[in-house]
Assembly symmetry: C2
Homo-oligomer: 146 residues x 2
């Protein structure tokens, strides 16, 4: 296996709401909901999905949680936070604060104020409208001249 | 917010087991468990974590689920699949089959046999030892001359 990851798919309750949050709220680029020409069938999940193009060929996707469960062949389960988090490295503590505020304004919830962690970073978490965790990080050491 | 994602952290029950799965089972590069000098405190989570370096500056991390909940300031919840999936693009259908078999041999569970999806890809899913979903994908269209 190559050390490569191509897609991160987030299970969402409402595809349009998730697109609005990531596109309009956070400003991530997307073509919007695509693959709507593939309705659910007796054997297959629906295709409709939205992709946000990140760095290095990585795609962030939002996909209905029922369809992800069907596509993966697992039972659908109620939403649960804490299975994973996505980390975003900001360039300053002020940018951490600002991005958390922007996310909350767009419909996210903040779990607690951002703060310095014992390992040196300054960070805070938000949960997107589906409860998925994001940690927004500033690493002062990364800013030091090496 | 830039279209950039720096870390994907998977909540795991047993850090050593997760490292063994991803390093020894799947062959991903890592320095092993680091930040062990930060024990849990009354206010902070433990630091111990392992990183796997992916493309484009992206890090895949494994971190104890209890510590992720503490670090994020949320309640710990029982494991649940279906909140997200990680997608890996292989270069052939045979590579999809082989990687699924390799994952299962390393301790993953397969949800169903890989198959062609209506949108043209050939893919199958496995769940890592903590239940996190991976979809291994071959896209025949990507192999066509353009």
């Amino acid at each position: 296996m190559k050390a490569h990851l191509d897609v991160i798919t987030l299970a969402v309750h409402d595809l349009a709401r998730a697109v609005a949050f990531y596109r309009d709220g956070l400003g991530l680029p997307t073509k919007g909901i695509v693959a709507t020409e593939f309705p659910p069938t007796t054997t297959d999940a629906a295709g409709a999905v939205a992709f946000f193009k990140m760095q290095g060929g990585l795609m962030l996707a939002v996909y209905p949680r029922r369809e992800l469960a069907r596509d993966a062949g697992i039972a659908e389960s109620p939403p649960s936070s804490g299975e994973f988090s996505l980390g975003y490295i900001a360039e300053s503590a002020a940018e951490v604060d600002a991005l958390l505020e922007r996310a909350v304004a767009a419909g996210a919830s903040r779990t607690e104020p951002p703060r310095r962690r014992p390992w040196g970073i300054y960070s805070g978490y938000f949960r997107d409208p589906d409860g998925h965790l994001w940690e927004v990080i500033w690493n002062p050491k990364a800013a030091e001249p090496s």
